[in-house]
Symmetry: C2
Subunit: 242 residues, 2 copies
Amino acid sequence: MIDKNSHIPIYAQLENILLEMIESGDLKPGDMIPSENELSKKYSISRMTAKKAIDSLTIKGLVERTQGKGTYVCSIEKKIELPINRLRGFTQKVCEMGLTPENKVLAFEKMPCPKNICKILGIKEGESIWRMERVRQIDEVPAVFEESYISVKLLPNLKEKNLLKSKFDYIKSLGLEIGNSEREISAEIPSDYVASALKLKRNEPILLAENITYLKKGTVLEYSKIYYNQKKYKFKFIAEGN
Amino acid sequence: MIDKNSHIPIYAQLENILLEMIESGDLKPGDMIPSENELSKKYSISRMTAKKAIDSLTIKGLVERTQGKGTYVCSIEKKIELPINRLRGFTQKVCEMGLTPENKVLAFEKMPCPKNICKILGIKEGESIWRMERVRQIDEVPAVFEESYISVKLLPNLKEKNLLKSKFDYIKSLGLEIGNSEREISAEIPSDYVASALKLKRNEPILLAENITYLKKGTVLEYSKIYYNQKKYKFKFIAEGN
DNA sequence: GAGTGGTCTAGACCACCAA
DNA sequence: TGGTGGTCTAGACCACTCC
């Protein structure tokens, strides 16, 4: 079963063995997989090597580990669909569900604009900006972590309480017209800070969208980074054929 | 510097130390970071613990390791922009650059349709489908790995050579009109097979798009999974404000 | 208290790279 | 040949869960 003289590392071989057991249905969603001790005995390998194999399955999202309990094959949960090609996808979806989005504000501060963000927002170095961090959730389940930068000149009277509801609703209420957003999307391993804000384990990959949002008149309104929790949500849009 | 009695693991503390050295510019892109041996001596920790810290920086894309050479801070490379909201983003971009896309066909076979894919394609169980794997690249740099399923009934005369150029061009040449595609996007740790096809290291996160592509008349043309290489490419689209 | 995973160690052998 | 990272070991202590 495991060839210790193979050029393929033992942990990779064991990972493949477990993978096949999961894909073949030998191990079903919700089942506990053999413990590190069992595996190390069964295959005559060290516990650390067995752990490395299972850890790899963990970050791939196939199993879930709990200290004291064991390692279980992940269930295929029904995920909530969010349209990622709309700025207000989350707000819209939550409203459709008859709920209101809960926003937790983790940071709200006025600060001098750092060089790199000045360029993006098109303002002078040293000008004041708002820096905000929010977690947006439904039923205590975090959906997105949002880090956002807006010029103070544009929103001089912004208060933390305006962030508890839709930020764009507040902006619209000031008579500003919001245009489109350039969105760059990538897969990232988040910092421990972001991971814990989204209640995720270390080294789980997540979607990141970096956005430059414009006003209809063309000036830049906001630069933001949005981290999406894939555990409970899935992200869709339509790609055009032509 | 490192508190061995802290509830924060030593490897996480060391990772943060190195992270700050990189973010502060103390370690610049291209610089070699201290070796595992140096770090284990300096902080009186074991080499395995130092390795764990550096491995974490590796999957975050901050450093690159080479056996025999050392670990180096990643440079900020200029990436090629690909529009992810168009089915033919890659082909279009390559043409704009005055090149033709190079496609490598890794698999091309006729097979009975598995249950889950039957549902998606809207065909009967046991009907024949084409299963294809391609890597699409520019200058030997893989951009995307594509796994695709199409009913044989729709394309009875498909040949492997039709996959060397644009697949959609071939389909159009048959008089079929391609519509839009439902695209679900996620961040994933790829299998070792996909990672090596894209010339990536183990456990690096990548973007995955799962697509259901329709013909204009409404029937399903294709189910595909596209894995995007973020090392050299970045993926953009416009999100609508309203 | 028994079993689980989380961390850490000190040492080993290997493959790879550069000088 | 010496230094690097890649793998693996056998053992240790801990925190957690469940009974």
